[in-house]
Every structure is written in C-alpha cells, then in structure tokens.
C-alpha cells in the first residue's frame, strides 16, 4: 500500500504535520450505491467516526452521512460584513484625515465610496471563505493525513476508513465486505 507522497520535514514539524497513521480498516468500493449502503450499515452499527473518500462530491454520500451544513458560510458572512465595514472606514476616514475638495464635491462623498465598499465586501468575503475552507478542511477535519488512503480515491474508487484498534477490526471488515467492498485492508 502506498499513501500519497509525503515530503520529509524537520522535527518537530514532521511529528505535527505527518503524525503516525491511525490504526483502522479501509474498504475500497467501485460503486456509489455500495458505498452508500456501507455508510448506512456503519452508522446503524453505531460507528460515527469514519471517513468516506470519493472522487466527486455526491449528495448520496452526504445524505447518508447526515452531516450538518458546513460552517464555512459563517466565514463568508463575517468576512463580507467586515470587508464592507473596512471599505467604509477606509474611504471615509482617509477622506477626512486629508480633507481635500475636488470638483465642488463634499469631502466624504458616500455614493462613489459605495463602489469601494462593494469591492471590499467581495474581496474579504472571498478570502475569508477560502480561509474557512482551509481551516475547516485542514485543521478541523480530524486526523487528516493520518488516515489510510488509496491513490485510486481521486480517480474512480470510493473508500471508507473506519478507525479501530486491531482487536475490534474483524466485525468492521466483515461489514464492509458484506456491503460490497472490492478490497478491504487493515492498517
């Protein structure tokens, strides 16, 4: 089994970024419906803490997992509001900090500043969405990079990784195989 390439890093970064793998069972599936079936069975068996791999995002998997809506939307909202506020502050404060009259217009003219406020809303909203994705996916997603992985998961296979200690692995293996896994590994 090969995991995706890992760049060697100096200590202590190596331990933080590439911790030793979590023990568990990995099932590889060829079909979406069998994967969904396995998810349902795992959840029925009381497993809540497993990872599903998929080359494409599928609503079937999401529905089977019953996940809550991603908190990324809060990042977008807060980023957008902050951007709008920064845009307003930037334009108005800077205008009054160096008050110069041009074209017979008020020093702080709001209508032209709306353009800046709008652009800043988009900019900060987008950047904070990116941060939200990275933060949630890279840090909040548990054990990322420590779990079992197979290179076919970005191509045409689905996968389920269930973390278990070795003495409890057998029922999980059986469950996955029954659900239709074409390959089951223990790691």
């Amino acid at each position: 089994m090969t995991t995706h390439l890992r760049l060697p890093l100096p200590k202590p970064l190596q331990d933080i970024i590439h911790p030793p793998p979590t023990p568990g069972v990995l099932g590889v599936f060829s079909y979406l419906d069998t994967t969904v079936d396995a998810i349902k069975k795992l959840r029925a068996a009381g497993h809540t803490d497993f990872t599903v791999y998929s080359p494409v995002p599928r609503h079937e998997i999401e529905d089977a997992l019953g996940q809550a809506v991603s908190p990324v939307r809060m990042f977008t909202l807060i980023g957008g509001i902050a951007g709008c506020a920064i845009g307003a502050w930037l334009t108005l404060w800077m205008s009054y900090d160096w008050p110069i009259v041009v074209g017979g217009k008020p020093v702080g003219s709001v209508p032209p500043y709306v353009v800046i406020m709008f652009e800043m809303t988009i900019l900060f909203g987008a950047l904070s969405t990116i941060l939200g994705i990275l933060f949630n996916a890279a840090f909040a997603a548990r054990r990322l990079g420590t779990v079992q992985y197979d290179e076919r998961f970005t191509n045409d296979r689905f996968g389920i990784f269930v973390p278990t200690v070795s003495d409890k692995a057998s029922p999980v293996e059986k469950l996955l195989r029954d659900a239709g896994a074409e390959e089951v590994r223990r790691g």
């Binding site: 995706h4 390439l5 890992r6 760049l7 060829s30 079909y31 979406l32 419906d33 069998t34 990872t51 599903v52 791999y53 998929s54 080359p55 494409v56 995002p57 599928r58 609503h59 999401e62 997992l65 996940q67 991603s70 990324v72 977008t76 957008g80 930037l90 334009t91 800077m94 205008s95 900090d97 160096w98 041009v102 074209g103 032209p112 353009v115 800046i116 709008f118 652009e119 988009i122 900019l123 909203g125 987008a126 950047l127 969405t129 990116i130 939200g132 994705i133 996916a137 890279a138 997603a141 548990r142 990322l144 990079g145 779990v147 290179e151 076919r152 998961f153 970005t154 191509n155 045409d156």
Partner: protein, 456 residues
C-alpha cells in the same frame, strides 16, 4: 441530479477512469510544437519588456499620443484584456449557480484565461502612467506624509475592482484545481509528483473535505457573480463618469459587461479549438460545448449591437449638438474604418450564429471568434481614441492620432505574456476540470437498472 429510468446508458468509454486518464494525458511530455509556441510567446514578451524599458527611460512620448488623445492603445488593451477575462468567470461562476452542466468541460480553460487576462490587463494601467515608478501612490498605504488616494476617482475604483477580481478569480481557480491536482498527483511520477503533492494541499477527497469544499465553492461562485458584473461596470465608469461625449452614458455598464462576455466567449473559442485538437479532448469537449459558447456569443453580441444602436439613437434623439457631433465623427470622421470594423465584427457577424450549421461548425466558429476578438479590440479603440480625438467641446484641438512602434510593442508583449502563462498552465495543470466532468457523468452503480445519465 435528474435520474430517469428511460435514459440511455452513458457511452461506455466515458468512465471516471477514462476521464482522469484522458485529461491527465494532456500533461504528458511537451512536443516540439509546444516549445515553438512557448518560444514565440516568450519572444513577444521580451519585445514588450524591451519596449517598456524604452518607455521608462525616455518617456511615454515614444508612443503615439497626441493632444488631446491622452489615452490610446494601452488603455484599449487594458479594457480588451479585462473584457476577455469576464467570460471565464461567467462560465465558471454564473453558470455554476445556474447548474449548467455543459460548463464543466470548458470552465477550467475559461477560468485560467480569466486569471491570465486579468494579470495582463492589470499591467496596462501601470505601463500607461507617466511615472511608472510611482504606481504605488494609488494604493492607500500609510506614509509619513499622511497622503491618501482620492476614492472619488474612478481610477481608484478600478484599482479596487481589478485587484479584487484578480485575487478572487485566482483563488477561485486554485480552489477548483485542488481536487484535480490531487487526481493527477496520484497518477504522476518524478518531480511532477512533488509539485502536485505540494499544490494539492493534502487533498484526499475525504467527506470532511468535500463538505466544506462544496459549500465554500458555492459561496465563492455567489461572490464572483456580482463581482464579475461589477468589474466591467467599474471599468466602463472610467469612461462614463467623464464628460466626454461618447463616454458619458448611463448605458455604459451593461453595454460593457455584455461586450466583455462577448469578447471573452470569442477568446474561449479561439483557445479551446487548438487545445481540443492538440490534446485530443474531442470526447470531453464536444461540438455541443462549442454550440453553447456560440449561443452565448449570439446573445451578448446582440446586446452589444443593440447598445450601438441605442448610443447612436440617443445621440440623435437628444438633440445635443456635442453628442451628435461626436457620433458623426465616429462614423464618418478620419477613423471611420475603425468604427465600421467594430460595427461589422460586433454588430453583423453574430447574426451568422443564428444558423445551427455555423454554430456546429468548429472551423467556422474559430474564424468568427478571431473576428470577434478584432472587433472588440476596435470597439475599445473607437470608444477611447476616437471619442478623444473628435472631442466636440473644444473644436480647436482635434487631433489625428497614430500609434507607433511602442504601442504595438507593448501590445505584442501583452499577448506574449498572456500566452506564456496560458501555455505553461495547460501543460502543468489539468486544463479540464477532472472532478467536475465526472460529476456530470453517471456515477458507477452496481444496480445498472437504476443508473441514469444527467442531461447536459
């Protein structure tokens, strides 16, 4: 996803694995033709850099400027490239929100084009200013003299709009690339595997990643949609906020946005035609995709033609002598050839696309797309140069403007710069969205009876 039991089974070759490998194959060893193209692009870029050095050393006088034509080819190119950028975001963000399945095969190319076109466009305001080395004075940075820029100036709006657009379209492109880079990472070997391992940011396709990713992507698309409409509106306000007849029109924002998408779709067709051939992507990028692009061209081209008619009608109907003189000068003045090039390429040419035979003929579309690009370049030339040259308020200062080698040198350099990045991109990163193309395929099911195909 629409599922029907009656739907025909998908073509057997178009499986997930086939898609991954077909697209990954585009990243194979470059041919001599590729290096020739890249060399030509770098050569043009070198020409542009040398011209720029001359401009900085001796001054903008080397270009063709003449009183009162104080904006000319550089700003024309600026608007041209910003316009090109727009269709990329339209296809990647707006059509994403509309759930248009056909966008998946072409949006990556369009989006890469967006980023590189904005990168190119952003250089022009820096090149065209008189003291290029002080460009940073336009940025509101804290300084010991307590000076700030003037936020009432449309140029500052422009800076914010273009800056935001560049940032957002870049992160949007990178975001979309991550799952695909992971896919090619898992197939690659050697130094490329290292490159993709870093750039994939540890993507594995885990459910936790997809959960945040798909949400985030949706919000990015939702933010990019108003952004793309705002950017060319702001660019148009560079002109519409001025009192020059021919510029000062409330029509400008929608007119420019439509023109931008029209030119951008033209450029997408220009770029996709050779890519599709060279990389043998005929099965992924089909005639159907070209036809849809052609329909977009037809729609936006019609809006542009309508805007031309409106402009001229309003100039006549308003009875304003300055407006009338400006549009008369445009059509029958010394620059009549530029105006009529614009009218024919943008006003008449799109009408060919009413014919399905033309829309489905890729050679015809390629030829038309070249003329769309030319026509849209001339539209900006007409708006900028001709309006200034024939400015009817001060009848005494009408100039006859002629571009010089410096204008063409910088313009050639911009094409070199754009194509250099574009060529490097298509050879090093997946030019077609792997995961999104798979998304519109039928998912592999064990129970074939329930399998369906989405209508794209």
């Amino acid at each position: 996803m629409a599922e029907t039991t009656q739907a025909p089974p998908p073509p057997s070759r178009l499986t997930y694995d086939y898609v991954t490998r077909t697209i990954a194959r585009t990243l194979g060893n470059p041919t001599r033709g590729y290096f020739l193209l890249l060399g030509a692009a770098v050569g043009l870029l070198a020409l542009g850099i040398i011209t720029l050095l001359f401009l900085i050393r001796y001054g903008l006088g080397l270009a063709g400027y003449s009183h009162p034509v104080y904006w000319a080819v550089f700003i024309t190119c600026f608007v041209f490239w910003v316009g090109i950028a727009h269709s990329g975001t339209l296809i990647s963000a707006i059509l994403f929100l509309f759930r248009s399945g056909w966008r998946t095969a072409v949006y990556r190319t369009a989006e890469a084009m967006t980023v590189f076109a904005v990168m190119t466009a952003g250089l022009f305001p820096l090149i065209h200013i008189g003291r290029q080395w002080y460009f940073y004075w336009l940025i509101p940075y804290p300084n010991e003299r307590g000076l700030w820029p003037n936020f009432k100036s449309p140029l500052i709006w422009d800076e914010f709009a273009i800056g935001t657009y560049f940032t957002v379209s870049t992160v949007f492109l990178i975001m979309g690339l991550i799952p695909d880079i992971a896919a090619v990472r898992d197939l690659a070997t050697g130094w490329r595997k290292k490159l993709y391992a870093i750039t994939a940011l540890g993507w594995t396709g885990a459910n936790e990643q997809w959960r945040h990713y798909t949400r985030g992507y949706l919000y990015l698309a939702a933010l990019a949609t108003p952004l793309v409409l705002s950017v060319h509106s702001v660019v148009s306000w560079d002109f519409a906020m001025a009192i020059v007849p021919g510029w000062h029109a409330t029509l400008f924002a929608p007119y420019f946005v439509a023109g931008a998408i029209y030119s951008g779709c033209g450029m997408v067709i220009t770029l996709l035609t050779p890519i599709r051939k060279l990389f043998q992507l005929e099965e992924v990028i089909t005639v159907h995709h070209f036809e849809n692009l052609a329909k977009l061209c037809l729609l936006t081209g019609s809006i542009v033609s309508f805007s031309y008619l409106t402009e001229n009608f309003v100039a006549w109907f308003s009875g304003n002598p300055a407006e009338r003189a400006a549009f008369w000068y445009r059509a029958f003045g010394p620059y009549w050839w530029a105006s009529w090039t614009m009218n024919i390429c943008n006003g008449l040419l799109p009408w060919l696309l009413w014919s399905k035979r033309v829309r489905t003929n890729i050679t015809a579309l390629f030829v038309i797309s070249i003329f769309v690009n030319i026509g849209m370049w001339f539209e900006r030339y007409v708006i900028i140069v001709v309006s200034l040259a024939g400015e009817p308020y001060t009848t005494w200062t009408n100039a006859v403007y002629n571009p010089t080698w410096a204008d063409w040198g910088i313009m050639a350099g911009s094409f070199g710069w754009f194509f250099m990045w574009f060529l490097l991109f298509v050879k090093n990163f997946p030019a077609v969205a792997i995961s999104e193309v798979k998304e519109v395929l039928a998912a592999p099911m064990r129970q074939k009876a329930r399998a369906g195909v989405q209508h794209t």
